[in-house]
C-alpha cells in the first residue's frame, strides 16, 4: 500500500541509527546557551528523517492518505498554536503538547492491543504503555487547566478526593490487568475499563497538586511522555522510538530532581503529601510592624543605590510586569546602578518560567543570577526588589527549624541593605507560611499591583 515500496528494513534501520545520533547531538546542544537553537534544529531534522524512512518503509499497512491527512491536520493545529501563543502562556502550552504526545502513545497501545497482543511480554508492555500514555494525557490536561487558570478546584474538595481515589484504584487495576487477567474471566471488557480508569486516574494524579508545585509536576509529566514513547518503541520493536523516548524521559527526570531539590522536598512528598499536611503550626506567630513605603520615597532610595537586585516571582507573571521591570532596570543602569536579577529555580509555574518572561522582555540572560551565586555577595546589594515572590525569599527557610519550608534554598534578600517587597496584600505565599521578611528592620513594603508600582517608579525616573 505504500507509495514507494522499496526501502528495505536494513536500510531503514541504518537510517534510524543516523537519526538517533542526530537526536542525541541535538538534545546535548539544547543544554547549552550558544548551541541551543542549532540543537533544536538538529532534533527536528532527526524527527523528519525518522518519519520519512518509516513512511517509505515496508511496515506501513494503513492507507497512506489517512496518514498524510493526520500529519497535515496535526501540523496545522500544532503550528497555529505554537505561532499564536503568547509567551506568558508558555507553561500551559508545554503541558498541552505534552498531553498530546501521551495521547498518541495511548492510541498506539490500544491499537496494538487489538492487533498484536499474542505473547505475554507484548501483553504486559501494552498494559504499561496504555497506562503511562493515558496518565500523561489526562494529567497534562489538568496541568493545562491549572496553569491557564481555567480549572479552579479546591485541593481538599470532594471532587478532588474522588478523582484521587480513582487514581489509586487505577494503579491497582493496572497490576491486576498485568498479572491476573489471563487467569480470570470477567463479565465485561477489562481493557475498556483499563482505558477509562487510566484517563480518570490521570486526572486524580494531578488534581490534588497545588499551583506552586507545578514546576515539579510538569517536569515529571514531560518525563512520562518520553517513557511512554520508549515503551511504545519496545512494543513496536523500533529503536529510534526507544532512543528518543529515553532521552526525553531522562531530561524530564533531571528537571524534576532539580525542581524538587530547589524546594528541599522529596518528589514523593510533593506528589502525595503537599504542603497542607506537612506544615505544622508555625512556631512564631509573626506580629511585628510592617513598614509601608510609597513610590516617590522608593524612587529616592533607588536613585542613590549603586547595586540593585531584582527578584521576580509568579506575581510578576500574573501582573504581566516583565516589560516595565526591564524598563526600570535600563533606567537604573543609565543612572550608573549595577542591576542583576536573582532567579530562583522554582519561581513561577514551570522550570525556567522567569527566564522566559524576562527574555521576552529583552533582558539579556547574562544578568540573571542563581541563588548560589548571589547569596554570598548579598551584603553588597543596596536594594533588593522583590516582585511578586514570597516563599523563595522567606528567611524562615534558614532561620526557623520548625518551619515547613525550613532547609529550602532561598535567595537571602534579608541580608541586603534594604529590601523592597512589592505585593498586593499581606496574604501568605503558596506554602501558607507567614513570611518574617515583611517584618524585618530593613524591609519596606510597596503595596499595590506590581505593574502599576514599577510603572510609577519608571515615570519618576523619567522626570
Amino acid at each position: 500500500m505504500s507509495f514507494l515500496e522499496n526501502i528495505s528494513t536494513e536500510l531503514q534501520n541504518l537510517i534510524y541509527i543516523f537519526a538517533s545520533i542526530l537526536f542525541i547531538t541535538g538534545i546535548k546542544m539544547l543544554g547549552k546557551e550558544d548551541t541551543a537553537v542549532k540543537g533544536n534544529f538538529l532534533s527536528a531534522l532527526a524527527m523528519f528523517i525518522a518519519v520519512i524512512v518509516t513512511f517509505l518503509g515496508p511496515e506501513i499497512t494503513v492507507n497512506p492518505y489517512i496518514i498524510l491527512a493526520g500529519i497535515v491536520v496535526g501540523a496545522l493545529i500544532g503550528s497555529l498554536i505554537a505561532l499564536k501563543v503568547k509567551m506568558t502562556s508558555i507553561p500551559e502550552m508545554v503541558a498541552l503538547f505534552n498531553g498530546f504526545g501521551g495521547l498518541a502513545t495511548f492510541f498506539i497501545a490500544w491499537s496494538e492491543f487489538n492487533s498484536n497482543a499474542d505473547n505475554t511480554f507484548q501483553y504486559v508492555l501494552i498494559m504499561i504503555t496504555t497506562y503511562i500514555g493515558g496518565v500523561t494525557f489526562s494529567g497534562s490536561i489538568v496541568a493545562y487547566g491549572k496553569l491557564s487558570e481555567k480549572l479552579r478546584i479546591q485541593k481538599g474538595s470532594f471532587i478532588t478526593k474522588l478523582f484521587t481515589t480513582v487514581f489509586y484504584a487505577s494503579l491497582i487495576y493496572l497490576l491486576y490487568a498485568i498479572f491476573l487477567t489471563k487467569t480470570l474471566s470477567l463479565p465485561f471488557d477489562f481493557y475498556i475499563l483499563l482505558l477509562a480508569l487510566t484517563l480518570i486516574g490521570g486526572i486524580g494524579f494531578v488534581l490534588p497538586i497545588g499551583g506552586g508545585d507545578m514546576p515539579v509536576v510538569i517536569s515529571l509529566l514531560n518525563s512520562f511522555s518520553g517513557i511512554a514513547a520508549a515503551f511504545a518503541g519496545l512494543l513496536l520493536t523500533n529503536n529510534v522510538l526507544i532512543v528518543a523516548g529515553s532521552l526525553v524521559g531522562a531530561s524530564g527526570l533531571i528537571l524534576t530532581v532539580i525542581m524538587a531539590k530547589a524546594m528541599n522536598r522529596s518528589i514523593g512528598n510533593i506528589l502525595f503529601v503537599g504542603y497542607a499536611l506537612s506544615s505544622t503550626k508555625s512556631s512564631s506567630e509573626e506580629t511585628g510592624e510592617v513598614k509601608p513605603i510609597n513610590v516617590s520615597d522608593a524612587y529616592l532610595i533607588l536613585e542613590n543605590a549603586s547595586s540593585v537586585l531584582i527578584i521576580p516571582g509568579y506575581g510578576m507573571a500574573v501582573a504581566q510586569a516583565q516589560h516595565v521591570v526591564r524598563e526600570l532596570g535600563e533606567l537604573l543602569e543609565a543612572n550608573g546602578t549595577e542591576v542583576k536579577y536573582g532567579i530562583h529555580p522554582v519561581a513561577g509555574r514551570m522550570p525556567g518560567h522567569m527566564n522566559v518572561l524576562l527574555a521576552e522582555a529583552n533582558v539579556p540572560y547574562d544578568v540573571l543570577v542563581e541563588p548560589d551565586d548571589v547569596n554570598p555577595m548579598m551584603d553588597t546589594v543596596d536594594v533588593a526588589v522583590v516582585i511578586g515572590a514570597n516563599d523563595v525569599v522567606n528567611p524562615s527557610a534558614t532561620e526557623e527549624p520548625g518551619s515547613p519550608i525550613y532547609g529550602m534554598p532561598i535567595i537571602e534578600v534579608h541580608n541586603a541593605r534594604t529590601v523592597f517587597v512589592l505585593k498586593r496584600s499581606m496574604s501568605s505565599g503558596f506554602a501558607g507560611v507567614q513570611n518574617p521578611l515583611f517584618f524585618k528592620e530593613n524591609t519596606r513594603m510597596l503595596f499595590g499591583d506590581a505593574k502599576d508600582s514599577i510603572g510609577g517608579l519608571v515615570s519618576e525616573f523619567k522626570e
Binding site: F23, G26, I27, L30, G31, K32, E33, A36, N40, F41, S43, A44, A50, T54, I60, T61, V62, I66, G70, I71, V73, G74, G78, A82, I90, M93, F97, N98, F100, G101, L103, A104, T105, F107, I108, S111, N114, N116, G226, A230, G233, L236, V240, L241, I242, A244, G245, L247, G249, A250, S251, L253, L255, P345, P351, G352, N355, A359, Y365, D366
Partner: protein
Amino acid sequence: MEEYILLGFVLILSIYLGLELISKVPSTLHTPLMSGANAISGVALVGALVLGSEGQLQNILAFLAVTFASINVFGGYLVTNRMLKMFKKK
C-alpha cells in the same frame, strides 16, 4: 524474546546517556529544554505510522495517533524555536 533483551539494552543505555548529557543545564534553558524534549517525545509519530489497519477502529486509532503526535511534533519544535530566539546575551 532475544530481540526484546537487545531492545532493553538500548533502553537502559539511552536513559543513562540522557542523564549524562543533560545533567548540567543552566536554569535559563530549563523551559526550552523541557519544551524541546517535549517535541522529541512526539517521536511517537514514528510508532503511529506502523499501526495495524484491520477494521475501522484500527484505522481511526491510527489516524488519531498520527494527528496528536503531529501536533506535538510541529507545535513543540516551533514553540521551542520561538522561545530560543528570544534569549539574547548582552
